[in-house]
């Protein structure tokens, strides 16, 4: 594999588009309730600590890509689906004021971080 393989693969397609069709079927769909797993992250991760253990709803099934925890180490062999999950702010921050109970936060996870509720 050449050192520039990321750029070569993405040329003319874009990243993450260049991984289209490489992941197994998505396990979750829009509207599914999910919980964020608390996996070990002693090396690289993009899963924020404030989301660990929180429950939310899948808002968008976005794209396929290697998980950043793999891609950071140049392992691009096992792309997975990514999901934007919507949380109630109160679910993330217990002190969030009740008067703003409708407020939400969305962020994105690779499939390994989600478990069904």
């Amino acid at each position: 594999m050449s050192r520039g393989h990321h750029a070569e693969k993405a040329t003319g397609k874009g990243d993450p588009q260049c991984f289209r069709g490489e992941a197994p079927q998505p396990k979750f769909k829009v509207g599914d309730r999910v919980r964020i797993r608390d996996l070990p992250d002693i090396f690289y991760t993009r899963c924020q600590v404030y989301t660990r253990g929180a429950e939310g709803v899948v808002a968008v099934v976005t794209h396929e890509s290697p998980a950043p925890e793999d891609e950071a180490w140049d392992n691009v062999d096992a792309p997975e689906w990514f999901y934007i999950v919507r949380f109630k702010q109160k679910e993330l921050w217990s002190e969030y004021p009740d008067v703003y109970a409708n407020d939400t936060l969305q962020t994105e996870f690779s499939e390994r971080w989600l478990e069904p509720v």
Partner: protein, 230 residues
């Protein structure tokens, strides 16, 4: 005494990432991957990209429901119609960012605002370089937890019955906000509408206003103690 009155340093400490950037850049120049002149041209180009194409995307969406549908479903394709090809945004042959643009629509019941708690992910090809505050730990740490307070600091009060929806941009999607078309802009042309969609409106920390344009003249304050003879 002299110690006590030591002036504060003119420049704050340089971050590890800045040191890393300089090191990698110098190595690349030494290896001949690009020249210092190439780097300067690229930096100049990158700094010159304004939020104008994104503003046009919003204005077009306000006027054309079909285009709006496209923008919300496929930001990548919609960008091309306002002159931005995410695959080749620089013209230098470098795709400089991830290419999955998502446009977040504000509605009477939802107000979107964008942050990246991890670093400073930003839709640069269509919005240009991120503002300095967007990259500060202050904004990144606080917006996710105290969004209404932080928006208030920008002078934006969102009514309690409107859902404030924070988008923490942490992966390969890039986000921009499509604000609502303000009242008082009926019969406006696409060019006129484009002028009032400023950068901050597309990050969600401001709302467009018919009297406020991106290229408004800045107020000039006269010096209180002018230096004579200069």
């Amino acid at each position: 005494m002299a110690e006590k009155h030591k002036p504060a340093p003119m420049v704050d400490e340089v971050s590890d990432f800045e040191v890393l950037e300089v090191a990698v850049r110098e190595l690349a120049i030494e290896k001949g991957l690009f020249s210092a002149e190439d780097h300067r041209r690229f930096a100049e180009f990158a700094h010159s990209i304004g939020p104008l194409p994104a503003a046009r995307l919003v204005a077009k969406s306000w006027l054309d429901p079909e285009f709006k549908k496209l923008a919300l479903e496929d930001g990548f394709t919609a960008s091309k119609e306002v002159g931005i090809d995410w695959l080749n945004p620089t013209g230098f042959g470098t795709p400089s960012d991830y290419c999955d643009l998502r446009v977040l629509e504000n509605t009477p019941s939802v107000h979107n605002v964008v942050v990246c708690t991890l670093c400073s992910c930003y839709p640069r090809p269509i919005l240009g370089h991120s503002p300095e505050w967007y990259r500060t730990p202050n904004y990144r740490r606080r917006l996710v937890r105290w969004p209404r307070q932080v928006l208030s600091e920008f002078g934006l009060q969102i009514p309690a019955d409107v859902e404030v929806r924070v988008e923490d941009s942490n992966q390969k999607c890039r986000f921009m906000v499509m604000p609502m078309r303000p009242e008082g802009t009926e019969d406006w042309s696409e060019d006129q509408l484009t002028e009032i969609v400023t950068r901050d409106c597309m990050l969600g920390v401001a709302l467009p206003h018919p009297d406020r344009k991106a290229d408004d003249k800045r107020p000039v304050h006269k010096a209180a103690n002018p230096v004579h003879g200069h």
